[in-house]
């Protein structure tokens, strides 16, 4: 599986038009990254409210946590990683 993924990445690289990619990176990539981060912060809040007990926050799991759990399972690992990772102001600086 990993091997196949790498192969497809190589193929993608060959297909990429460098000038187009540069223009996209210069003009839009920062915006896309910002949008993703905004979504991340909103997800953090929502998951903290519903599944905060998983990280040791003294939150009584509400009924809806169980109902939402199947939808949240794919994100739990990365959410935990992001929440527990040390951050400071230098993480936000991206030019």
């Amino acid at each position: 599986m990993i091997f196949k993924k790498k192969e497809s990445n190589e193929e993608n690289k060959k297909k990429t038009n460098p000038l187009k990619a540069f223009m996209y990176g210069f003009a839009l990539h920062g915006n896309v990254t910002y949008m993703l981060r905004t979504r991340m912060y909103m997800e953090h809040l929502f998951m903290l409210m519903t599944l905060g007990d998983m990280l040791g926050f003294p939150i009584l799991p509400p009924y809806y946590s169980l109902r939402l759990l199947p939808y949240m399972v794919p994100n739990i690992k990365s959410w935990k990683m992001r929440m527990l990772r040390e951050r400071d102001i230098t993480d936000l600086i991206s030019g």
Partner: protein
């Protein structure tokens, strides 16, 4: 007919050739010998992929993003000042030698350092490698750095808007276009292509109005009053931009500014390379002397802080380790992305060098760039287009300043909020976004009001370069820890540390000496401030002396903070060398590691 050697073309071309050689040979040699990138070793982007912060991005996209993030007013203003202070030759040599031996190494190494440390940014890495106090110093340092940066950049924006009547409409048109684009794309869900077309039409209307209606004229309130008027206007715009959500203004504005910005850089480089055909030659001296014209600054250490970005800049290490390192797809991409973007930014500095070196008048500030770029471009495309090019490059200057500055003010208020977060009492009000934004803007306007731009620029350049020195020494600390050769960052890092601390100390010394004798202004520029005060019946002495003392205290604080930071960094390097039992020279043999062993 102007001799080809008396035009900027051969020197710009020489720079481009040397950059290519340095990238192909020296950079790759360091890359292989020190970091030994392995395409099979997973990067943070692939290891912790979450599709949000960590995700692999194509190298060309990342290169474009990195270049956009590092390029601002720094590589434009620095050469403009230095060429007029010391002559074009020392400036050219520092730009080329600086980027080849120090600049790229910092950007690339900061990125690799973060990649090898799970994509962490500089704060946590400093904490891990050097300790808690060092990180606190780093954050305090950022606080002063952003303030000085805001003061210097807003002054440049104000002088450009005042110097070139009508340019304000270009930025106003782009701001309106940005707001429109934001609403159309994010609220009305328009297709970005059509929204861009519509927004660009608004931008073009701004250009046309600026060209046809050059109002208000330059110095309409007197030089001092007009510059302060524009400084307040820009402070208000930047303040609003720093408070409203990014998609409302900053993101669409930065996107729209991309189109004229990229065209401007390409146009100046092309015009400079073809200058032998247009017969536009140097008007500035190759070498003025060790002591600068106009200000009397000594070449060492002040040349090395006057030209900051373009040769080396601490801002880049923050960007390299902040976002880019989390998205590097493969370790082998770090060199073209980090190093490549730095070399490209240095080309912007070369374009600024070319522009100012053909300007006949004295223009201490970014305005020299606009006049020079318009002279080069109109020489190539027709003298009748000179005024149009002045507007075009003036707008470019404003775009470069505004795009970065609106983010810097936002970061500044976040740093302030971080400081007061865990404190109790009334001080917590400083964390409020409105209060913090107003504080930074008022403090920056106070810097501008004294008209000591030449000196503030040295402070700003000094803090920027010191940050680069910290970054290089932090990399050396890490390399020592993992038993890799560290000389290529330790030597430049030490040079930058000594040079920039000396530069800041010297500038602080000038301020305090001036406080004892304020009868004469610090520079010709400050004469305007003196004239203004006298015209409203105020004696300059108490105001100027107070400012001098405050500026001196800021300088001393910077020197103390940076000396302490340097102490902690060297202490860590020595400690890691002892811990590792390293007895061979700093450039000693490379130890090979298995993947993951060096964490």
């Amino acid at each position: 007919m102007v001799s080809i050697l008396a035009t900027p073309a051969p020197y710009v071309l020489l720079g481009l050739v040397l950059y290519y050689i340095a990238y192909r040979l020296y950079s790759r040699w360091i890359d292989k010998r020190v970091w030994d990138p392995d395409p099979k070793r997973p990067t943070p982007a692939t290891m912790y992929m979450d599709g949000v912060e960590y995700f692999p991005v194509n190298r060309y996209v990342l290169y474009g993003f990195q270049f956009k993030s590092v390029a601002a007013l720094g590589p434009i203003v620095g050469p403009v000042l230095a060429v007029q202070y010391w002559g074009w030759l020392p400036s050219l040599l520092w730009i080329i030698i600086g980027v080849i031996f120090i600049g790229w190494a910092q950007d690339y190494s900061a990125m690799m350092l973060s990649v090898r440390n799970e994509g962490r940014s500089f704060g946590p890495i400093t904490y891990n490698l050097v300790g808690r106090r060092a990180r606190s110093i780093l954050l305090s340092y950022l606080f002063i750095y952003f303030w000085l940066l805001t003061g210097a950049f807003v002054y440049i924006l104000a002088t450009a808007a005042n110097g070139f009547a009508g340019t304000f409409y270009t930025i106003f048109g782009t701001l309106l276009g940005g707001v429109l684009l934001g609403q159309l794309v994010f609220k009305a869900r328009w297709n970005i292509f059509y929204a861009t077309i519509l927004a660009l039409i608004v931008v073009v209307i701004g250009y046309v109005i600026g060209y046809l209606v050059p109002f208000p004229p330059s110095n309409f309130l007197g030089t001092y009053g007009s510059i302060m008027f524009w400084a307040i206007i820009f402070a208000i715009i930047l303040g609003i931009a720093a408070i409203v959500p990014l998609p409302t203004l900053i993101l669409p504005f930065n996107y729209l500014a991309f189109f004229p910005a990229i065209t401007s850089v390409a146009l100046v480089i092309l015009s400079a390379l073809l200058s032998p055909l247009t017969g536009i030659g140097f008007t500035k001296s190759a070498y003025v002397g060790f002591t600068a014209s106009f200000t009397g600054f000594p070449l060492w250490p002040l040349l090395f802080v006057t030209i900051a970005c373009g040769a080396i800049s601490g801002w880049h290490s923050l960007v390299s380790s902040g976002t880019t390192s989390k998205q590097v797809e493969s370790e082998i991409d770090a060199l073209p992305v980090g190093g490549g973007a730095m070399f490209t930014e240095s080309i912007v500095a070369l374009s600024s060098f070319a522009a100012i070196s053909v300007v006949a008048v004295t223009a201490l500030g970014a305005n020299g760039y606009v006049i020079g770029a318009a002279t080069l471009a109109s020489g190539l495309f027709g003298k009748t287009l000179y005024n149009a090019f002045v507007l075009f490059f003036g707008a470019f200057l404003l775009f470069m300043g505004v795009t970065v500055e609106q983010l810097v003010i936002r970061y500044w208020r976040l740093v302030l909020a971080d400081f007061v977060e865990e404190r109790k009492g009334a001080i917590k009000i400083l964390g409020n976004k409105y209060v913090a934004t107003i504080i930074v803007l008022v403090l920056s306007l106070a810097l501008i009001a004294t008209f000591t731009f030449d000196y503030i620029w040295e402070y700003f350049g000094g803090t920027n370069q010191l940050f680069a020195g910290f970054a290089l020494l932090l990399v050396a600390t890490y390399l020592t820890k993992v038993k890799k050769p560290s000389w290529y960052t330790l030597i430049p890092g030490s040079f930058m540390l000594v040079t920039t601390i000396s530069a800041i100390a010297y500038t602080a010394y000038l301020f305090i000496m001036h406080s004892f004798n304020t009868a004469k202004p610090l520079t010709a520029l400050q004469q305007l401030f003196y004239t203004y005060l006298t015209s409203i019946g105020v004696t300059p002495y108490p105001i100027v002396a107070t400012f001098d003392v405050i500026a001196f205290i800021v300088g001393v604080a910077l020197v103390v903070l940076s000396t302490a930071m340097g102490y902690y960094l060297y202490k860590s390097i020595v400690a890691y060398r002892r811990e590792a039992g390293v007895t061979q020279p700093i450039g000693g043999k490379t130890t090979m590691f298995k993947p993951g062993e060096d964490k």
